[in-house]
Protein backbone atom coordinates (compact mmCIF):
# COMPACT_ATOMS: atom_id res chain seq x y z
CA UNK A 1 0.00 0.00 0.00
CA UNK A 2 1.45 3.34 -1.03
CA UNK A 3 0.22 6.36 0.89
CA UNK A 4 0.46 9.66 -0.91
CA UNK A 5 -2.04 12.34 0.11
CA UNK A 6 -2.85 13.65 3.59
CA UNK A 7 -6.10 11.71 3.34
CA UNK A 8 -4.10 8.58 2.67
CA UNK A 9 -2.04 9.28 5.75
CA UNK A 10 -5.21 9.51 7.86
CA UNK A 11 -6.40 6.26 6.37
CA UNK A 12 -3.03 4.70 7.07
CA UNK A 13 -3.25 5.69 10.73
CA UNK A 14 -6.80 4.35 10.94
CA UNK A 15 -5.59 1.08 9.43
CA UNK A 16 -3.18 0.85 12.33
CA UNK A 17 -6.01 1.15 14.84
CA UNK A 18 -5.97 4.89 15.47
CA UNK A 19 -9.57 5.78 16.39
CA UNK A 20 -8.87 9.52 16.12
CA UNK A 21 -7.83 9.02 12.52
CA UNK A 22 -10.96 6.97 11.98
CA UNK A 23 -12.99 9.81 13.45
CA UNK A 24 -11.46 12.11 10.83
CA UNK A 25 -12.56 9.68 8.14
CA UNK A 26 -16.00 9.61 9.72
CA UNK A 27 -16.24 13.42 9.69
CA UNK A 28 -15.12 13.46 6.09
CA UNK A 29 -17.61 10.87 4.83
CA UNK A 30 -20.58 10.96 7.18
CA UNK A 31 -22.55 13.56 5.20
CA UNK A 32 -22.42 11.50 2.05
CA UNK A 33 -23.13 8.22 3.81
CA UNK A 34 -26.05 9.63 5.78
CA UNK A 35 -27.58 11.23 2.68
CA UNK A 36 -27.22 7.93 0.82
CA UNK A 37 -28.83 5.99 3.68
CA UNK A 38 -31.61 8.54 3.99
CA UNK A 39 -32.45 8.28 0.32
CA UNK A 40 -32.38 4.48 0.42
CA UNK A 41 -34.38 4.08 3.62
CA UNK A 42 -36.66 7.10 3.43
CA UNK A 43 -36.55 7.45 7.21
CA UNK A 44 -34.16 9.61 9.21
CA UNK A 45 -34.05 7.30 12.23
CA UNK A 46 -33.27 4.28 10.06
CA UNK A 47 -30.73 6.31 8.12
CA UNK A 48 -28.98 7.16 11.39
CA UNK A 49 -28.94 3.50 12.42
CA UNK A 50 -27.56 2.45 9.05
CA UNK A 51 -24.93 5.18 9.12
CA UNK A 52 -23.77 4.07 12.55
CA UNK A 53 -23.80 0.44 11.50
CA UNK A 54 -21.82 1.33 8.39
CA UNK A 55 -18.99 3.02 10.26
CA UNK A 56 -18.84 0.34 12.95
CA UNK A 57 -18.70 -2.39 10.30
CA UNK A 58 -16.12 -0.38 8.38
CA UNK A 59 -13.91 -0.16 11.45
CA UNK A 60 -14.13 -3.90 11.97
CA UNK A 61 -13.44 -4.63 8.31
CA UNK A 62 -10.79 -1.97 7.91
CA UNK A 63 -7.80 -4.32 8.14
CA UNK A 64 -9.15 -6.05 5.05
CA UNK A 65 -9.49 -2.83 3.04
CA UNK A 66 -7.12 -3.23 0.12
CA UNK A 67 -7.54 0.14 -1.59
CA UNK A 68 -8.44 -1.47 -4.89
CA UNK A 69 -11.42 0.83 -4.73
CA UNK A 70 -11.57 4.22 -3.09
CA UNK A 71 -12.40 4.40 0.58
CA UNK A 72 -15.62 6.27 -0.24
CA UNK A 73 -16.77 3.58 -2.64
CA UNK A 74 -15.89 0.92 -0.09
CA UNK A 75 -17.92 2.76 2.55
CA UNK A 76 -20.85 3.01 0.14
CA UNK A 77 -20.81 -0.77 -0.25
CA UNK A 78 -20.95 -1.22 3.50
CA UNK A 79 -23.68 1.41 3.85
CA UNK A 80 -25.83 -0.27 1.20
CA UNK A 81 -25.30 -3.58 2.96
CA UNK A 82 -26.40 -2.00 6.23
CA UNK A 83 -29.53 -0.65 4.55
CA UNK A 84 -30.36 -4.02 3.01
CA UNK A 85 -29.89 -5.68 6.39
CA UNK A 86 -32.16 -3.14 8.04
CA UNK A 87 -34.70 -3.69 5.31
CA UNK A 88 -34.68 -7.44 5.86
CA UNK A 89 -34.83 -7.09 9.60
CA UNK A 90 -37.60 -4.56 9.79
CA UNK A 91 -39.54 -5.66 6.79
CA UNK A 92 -39.90 -3.99 3.46
CA UNK A 93 -43.11 -2.30 4.57
CA UNK A 94 -41.21 0.25 6.61
CA UNK A 95 -39.17 1.30 3.66
CA UNK A 96 -41.44 0.81 0.70
CA UNK A 97 -44.43 2.64 2.10
CA UNK A 98 -44.06 6.17 0.89
CA UNK A 99 -46.89 7.26 3.14
CA UNK A 100 -44.76 6.58 6.18
CA UNK A 101 -41.94 8.81 5.07
CA UNK A 102 -40.92 11.51 7.43
CA UNK A 103 -41.27 14.48 5.15
CA UNK A 104 -39.38 16.80 7.45
CA UNK A 105 -36.49 14.43 7.80
CA UNK A 106 -36.40 13.80 4.09
CA UNK A 107 -35.85 17.47 3.45
CA UNK A 108 -32.39 17.01 2.06
CA UNK A 109 -30.63 20.26 1.45
CA UNK A 110 -30.70 21.32 -2.14
CA UNK A 111 -27.63 22.58 -3.87
CA UNK A 112 -27.53 26.39 -3.85
CA UNK A 113 -28.90 26.74 -7.37
CA UNK A 114 -31.53 24.05 -6.89
CA UNK A 115 -35.07 24.50 -8.15
CA UNK A 116 -37.83 22.05 -7.36
CA UNK A 117 -35.48 19.72 -5.54
CA UNK A 118 -38.05 19.05 -2.82
CA UNK A 119 -40.40 17.71 -5.48
CA UNK A 120 -37.63 15.59 -6.90
CA UNK A 121 -36.72 14.20 -3.47
CA UNK A 122 -40.36 13.37 -2.81
CA UNK A 123 -40.68 11.73 -6.21
CA UNK A 124 -37.51 9.72 -5.58
CA UNK A 125 -38.88 8.58 -2.23
CA UNK A 126 -42.08 7.39 -3.87
CA UNK A 127 -40.26 5.12 -6.32
CA UNK A 128 -40.42 1.37 -5.77
CA UNK A 129 -37.44 0.31 -3.68
CA UNK A 130 -35.69 -1.60 -6.48
CA UNK A 131 -35.83 1.30 -8.91
CA UNK A 132 -34.97 3.85 -6.25
CA UNK A 133 -31.92 1.91 -5.08
CA UNK A 134 -30.42 1.79 -8.55
CA UNK A 135 -31.39 5.33 -9.46
CA UNK A 136 -29.79 6.66 -6.29
CA UNK A 137 -26.61 4.64 -6.68
CA UNK A 138 -26.13 4.99 -10.43
CA UNK A 139 -28.06 8.09 -11.40
CA UNK A 140 -27.21 10.18 -8.38
CA UNK A 141 -23.98 8.90 -6.84
CA UNK A 142 -22.35 7.88 -10.10
CA UNK A 143 -21.66 4.23 -9.42
CA UNK A 144 -21.39 1.94 -12.41
CA UNK A 145 -24.04 -0.68 -12.99
CA UNK A 146 -21.47 -3.30 -12.10
CA UNK A 147 -20.83 -1.62 -8.74
CA UNK A 148 -24.53 -1.12 -8.05
CA UNK A 149 -25.32 -4.71 -9.01
CA UNK A 150 -22.65 -5.98 -6.64
CA UNK A 151 -23.82 -3.77 -3.80
CA UNK A 152 -27.48 -4.69 -4.25
CA UNK A 153 -26.83 -8.33 -5.05
CA UNK A 154 -28.65 -8.16 -8.35
CA UNK A 155 -27.65 -8.84 -11.96
CA UNK A 156 -26.13 -6.06 -14.03
CA UNK A 157 -29.02 -6.37 -16.46
CA UNK A 158 -31.48 -5.94 -13.61
CA UNK A 159 -29.64 -2.82 -12.53
CA UNK A 160 -29.95 -1.37 -16.01
CA UNK A 161 -33.63 -2.26 -16.21
CA UNK A 162 -34.32 -0.75 -12.79
CA UNK A 163 -32.54 2.44 -13.77
CA UNK A 164 -34.61 2.74 -16.90
CA UNK A 165 -37.76 2.06 -14.91
CA UNK A 166 -36.81 4.51 -12.20
CA UNK A 167 -36.04 7.29 -14.65
CA UNK A 168 -39.27 6.71 -16.51
CA UNK A 169 -41.34 6.77 -13.31
CA UNK A 170 -39.49 9.80 -12.05
CA UNK A 171 -39.99 11.70 -15.30
CA UNK A 172 -43.68 10.85 -15.21
CA UNK A 173 -44.03 12.00 -11.62
CA UNK A 174 -42.26 15.25 -12.37
CA UNK A 175 -44.33 15.86 -15.47
CA UNK A 176 -41.36 15.91 -17.77
CA UNK A 177 -42.32 15.53 -21.40
CA UNK A 178 -42.38 12.02 -22.77
CA UNK A 179 -41.51 8.82 -20.98
CA UNK A 180 -38.19 8.18 -22.58
CA UNK A 181 -36.21 9.55 -19.68
Amino acid sequence: MTLRSPGDAVLGRALQGDTRAFEQLYRLHVGRIYALCLRLTGQPALAEDCTQECFIAAWRALPGFEQRSGFGTWLHRIAVHAVLNQRRRRGARLLADAASLDEEGMDLHAAPDGHGTADLEAALARLPAGARDVLVLVGLYGHTHEEAAQMLDIAVGTSKAQLHRGRRLLATQLGLAGEDA
Partner: protein, 209 residues
Protein backbone atom coordinates in the same frame (compact mmCIF):
# COMPACT_ATOMS: atom_id res chain seq x y z
CA UNK B 1 -17.48 5.48 -9.46
CA UNK B 2 -17.68 6.62 -12.99
CA UNK B 3 -18.81 5.61 -16.38
CA UNK B 4 -22.40 4.82 -15.52
CA UNK B 5 -24.33 4.71 -18.71
CA UNK B 6 -27.50 6.65 -19.24
CA UNK B 7 -28.53 4.18 -21.91
CA UNK B 8 -29.53 6.86 -24.33
CA UNK B 9 -31.54 8.80 -21.81
CA UNK B 10 -29.42 11.93 -21.81
CA UNK B 11 -29.98 12.53 -25.46
CA UNK B 12 -33.71 13.01 -25.10
CA UNK B 13 -35.32 16.18 -23.86
CA UNK B 14 -36.93 14.53 -20.87
CA UNK B 15 -33.72 12.62 -20.13
CA UNK B 16 -31.64 15.75 -20.22
CA UNK B 17 -34.09 17.59 -18.00
CA UNK B 18 -34.08 14.72 -15.53
CA UNK B 19 -30.29 14.54 -15.53
CA UNK B 20 -30.13 18.27 -14.90
CA UNK B 21 -32.59 17.95 -12.01
CA UNK B 22 -30.68 15.03 -10.48
CA UNK B 23 -27.43 16.94 -10.80
CA UNK B 24 -28.86 19.70 -8.63
CA UNK B 25 -29.52 17.40 -5.69
CA UNK B 26 -27.09 17.62 -2.81
CA UNK B 27 -25.08 14.47 -2.30
CA UNK B 28 -24.30 15.21 1.32
CA UNK B 29 -26.35 15.94 4.39
CA UNK B 30 -25.21 16.03 7.97
CA UNK B 31 -27.24 13.76 10.23
CA UNK B 32 -29.50 15.60 12.70
CA UNK B 33 -27.22 14.63 15.58
CA UNK B 34 -23.60 13.70 15.95
CA UNK B 35 -23.40 9.93 15.54
CA UNK B 36 -19.73 9.69 16.43
CA UNK B 37 -20.09 9.25 20.23
CA UNK B 38 -22.25 6.16 19.76
CA UNK B 39 -19.91 4.81 17.11
CA UNK B 40 -16.90 5.49 19.29
CA UNK B 41 -18.44 3.54 22.14
CA UNK B 42 -18.77 0.53 19.85
CA UNK B 43 -15.20 0.86 18.64
CA UNK B 44 -13.93 1.02 22.17
CA UNK B 45 -15.88 -2.07 23.14
CA UNK B 46 -13.34 -4.86 23.17
CA UNK B 47 -14.73 -8.09 21.73
CA UNK B 48 -13.95 -10.01 24.89
CA UNK B 49 -13.11 -8.20 28.08
CA UNK B 50 -11.39 -10.42 30.59
CA UNK B 51 -12.97 -8.71 33.57
CA UNK B 52 -12.17 -10.28 36.89
CA UNK B 53 -15.37 -11.84 38.16
CA UNK B 54 -14.48 -15.05 39.86
CA UNK B 55 -14.06 -18.55 38.51
CA UNK B 56 -17.30 -18.54 36.54
CA UNK B 57 -16.45 -15.39 34.67
CA UNK B 58 -12.95 -16.65 34.08
CA UNK B 59 -14.23 -19.94 32.75
CA UNK B 60 -16.62 -18.15 30.43
CA UNK B 61 -13.90 -15.84 29.20
CA UNK B 62 -11.49 -18.68 28.62
CA UNK B 63 -14.13 -20.61 26.72
CA UNK B 64 -14.97 -17.56 24.64
CA UNK B 65 -11.32 -16.83 23.98
CA UNK B 66 -10.74 -20.39 22.86
CA UNK B 67 -13.67 -20.17 20.49
CA UNK B 68 -12.63 -16.78 19.22
CA UNK B 69 -9.14 -18.10 18.68
CA UNK B 70 -10.58 -20.98 16.69
CA UNK B 71 -12.61 -18.51 14.68
CA UNK B 72 -9.66 -16.27 14.05
CA UNK B 73 -7.60 -19.18 12.83
CA UNK B 74 -10.25 -19.62 10.21
CA UNK B 75 -10.27 -16.02 9.11
CA UNK B 76 -8.54 -14.98 5.97
CA UNK B 77 -9.40 -13.01 2.88
CA UNK B 78 -8.71 -14.52 -0.53
CA UNK B 79 -5.60 -12.42 -0.92
CA UNK B 80 -4.15 -13.82 2.24
CA UNK B 81 -3.28 -10.48 3.82
CA UNK B 82 -4.65 -8.70 6.85
CA UNK B 83 -8.02 -9.87 8.11
CA UNK B 84 -10.74 -8.31 10.16
CA UNK B 85 -9.73 -10.21 13.20
CA UNK B 86 -10.97 -8.01 15.96
CA UNK B 87 -9.02 -5.03 17.12
CA UNK B 88 -9.09 -6.01 20.70
CA UNK B 89 -6.67 -3.73 22.42
CA UNK B 90 -4.16 -0.95 22.24
CA UNK B 91 -1.46 -3.22 20.89
CA UNK B 92 -3.49 -4.60 18.04
CA UNK B 93 -2.33 -2.02 15.55
CA UNK B 94 1.31 -2.68 16.25
CA UNK B 95 0.81 -6.41 16.03
CA UNK B 96 -0.79 -5.99 12.64
CA UNK B 97 2.43 -4.48 11.40
CA UNK B 98 4.31 -7.71 11.90
CA UNK B 99 4.62 -9.52 8.58
CA UNK B 100 2.38 -12.54 8.45
CA UNK B 101 0.71 -11.85 11.75
CA UNK B 102 -2.66 -10.36 12.49
CA UNK B 103 -4.22 -9.31 15.75
CA UNK B 104 -7.13 -11.47 16.83
CA UNK B 105 -9.85 -11.22 19.39
CA UNK B 106 -8.64 -11.64 22.91
CA UNK B 107 -5.24 -10.28 22.07
CA UNK B 108 -3.95 -13.39 20.35
CA UNK B 109 -1.58 -13.06 17.44
CA UNK B 110 -2.36 -15.35 14.59
CA UNK B 111 -0.79 -16.28 11.30
CA UNK B 112 -2.36 -14.39 8.43
CA UNK B 113 -2.55 -17.54 6.37
CA UNK B 114 -5.52 -19.10 8.11
CA UNK B 115 -8.68 -19.77 6.16
CA UNK B 116 -12.12 -18.17 6.45
CA UNK B 117 -15.40 -19.25 7.90
CA UNK B 118 -16.88 -20.97 10.90
CA UNK B 119 -14.67 -23.73 12.21
CA UNK B 120 -16.10 -27.16 11.55
CA UNK B 121 -14.12 -29.33 13.90
CA UNK B 122 -15.88 -31.34 16.58
CA UNK B 123 -14.02 -29.74 19.48
CA UNK B 124 -15.09 -26.29 18.40
CA UNK B 125 -18.69 -27.36 17.95
CA UNK B 126 -18.74 -28.99 21.37
CA UNK B 127 -17.27 -25.92 23.07
CA UNK B 128 -19.67 -23.63 21.25
CA UNK B 129 -22.64 -25.80 22.20
CA UNK B 130 -21.55 -25.73 25.84
CA UNK B 131 -21.26 -21.96 25.83
CA UNK B 132 -24.66 -21.69 24.19
CA UNK B 133 -26.20 -23.93 26.86
CA UNK B 134 -24.67 -21.77 29.57
CA UNK B 135 -26.04 -18.74 27.79
CA UNK B 136 -29.56 -20.17 27.73
CA UNK B 137 -29.39 -21.12 31.43
CA UNK B 138 -28.02 -17.78 32.52
CA UNK B 139 -30.36 -15.74 30.38
CA UNK B 140 -33.22 -16.63 32.71
CA UNK B 141 -31.41 -14.83 35.52
CA UNK B 142 -31.64 -11.49 33.75
CA UNK B 143 -34.52 -9.05 33.92
CA UNK B 144 -37.23 -9.74 31.31
CA UNK B 145 -36.48 -6.54 29.42
CA UNK B 146 -32.80 -7.39 29.28
CA UNK B 147 -33.60 -10.93 28.18
CA UNK B 148 -35.74 -9.57 25.38
CA UNK B 149 -33.00 -7.21 24.28
CA UNK B 150 -30.38 -9.94 24.31
CA UNK B 151 -32.63 -12.30 22.37
CA UNK B 152 -33.34 -9.55 19.85
CA UNK B 153 -29.61 -8.94 19.46
CA UNK B 154 -29.00 -12.63 18.97
CA UNK B 155 -31.76 -12.83 16.37
CA UNK B 156 -30.26 -9.87 14.56
CA UNK B 157 -26.82 -11.43 14.53
CA UNK B 158 -28.18 -14.75 13.29
CA UNK B 159 -30.29 -13.06 10.61
CA UNK B 160 -27.25 -11.13 9.43
CA UNK B 161 -25.27 -14.36 9.40
CA UNK B 162 -27.93 -16.07 7.29
CA UNK B 163 -28.09 -13.12 4.91
CA UNK B 164 -24.33 -13.08 4.53
CA UNK B 165 -24.16 -16.81 3.88
CA UNK B 166 -26.83 -16.43 1.22
CA UNK B 167 -24.90 -13.57 -0.35
CA UNK B 168 -21.69 -15.57 -0.20
CA UNK B 169 -23.34 -18.40 -2.05
CA UNK B 170 -23.58 -16.03 -5.00
CA UNK B 171 -20.30 -14.23 -4.48
CA UNK B 172 -18.06 -16.61 -2.56
CA UNK B 173 -14.88 -14.62 -3.13
CA UNK B 174 -16.11 -11.30 -1.75
CA UNK B 175 -13.61 -10.25 0.93
CA UNK B 176 -16.11 -7.85 2.45
CA UNK B 177 -18.81 -10.49 2.80
CA UNK B 178 -16.32 -12.93 4.26
CA UNK B 179 -15.16 -10.40 6.79
CA UNK B 180 -18.67 -9.45 7.78
CA UNK B 181 -19.59 -13.12 8.10
CA UNK B 182 -16.66 -13.72 10.41
CA UNK B 183 -17.74 -10.76 12.51
CA UNK B 184 -21.20 -12.29 12.99
CA UNK B 185 -19.72 -15.52 14.36
CA UNK B 186 -17.59 -13.46 16.67
CA UNK B 187 -20.48 -11.26 17.80
CA UNK B 188 -22.56 -14.31 18.66
CA UNK B 189 -19.83 -15.77 20.82
CA UNK B 190 -19.24 -12.39 22.42
CA UNK B 191 -22.91 -12.15 23.29
CA UNK B 192 -22.82 -15.57 24.95
CA UNK B 193 -19.73 -14.62 26.91
CA UNK B 194 -21.20 -11.28 27.89
CA UNK B 195 -24.28 -12.90 29.42
CA UNK B 196 -22.11 -15.44 31.22
CA UNK B 197 -19.96 -12.65 32.66
CA UNK B 198 -22.91 -10.51 33.69
CA UNK B 199 -24.60 -13.34 35.55
CA UNK B 200 -21.50 -14.76 37.20
CA UNK B 201 -21.87 -12.72 40.42
CA UNK B 202 -25.42 -14.09 40.82
CA UNK B 203 -24.21 -17.66 40.37
CA UNK B 204 -21.43 -17.09 42.85
CA UNK B 205 -23.85 -15.73 45.46
CA UNK B 206 -26.11 -18.75 44.94
CA UNK B 207 -23.15 -21.09 45.33
CA UNK B 208 -22.10 -19.48 48.61
CA UNK B 209 -25.60 -19.59 50.13
Amino acid sequence: MNGHDSEGHAGSGAGAALDAALARLALEQAPPRDLWPAIQRELAHAPVRATPGGPFALAASVAALALLGALAWNVRGPSGDATDAARSGAGAGQLAQSPGLVPAAGGAVLPASASYGPPDNAAYEAARAKLERTFEERLDLLAPATQARVRADLATIRAANADLRAALAKDPASPLLLQLLASTWRQEIELYASVARTTSPLIQRRTRT
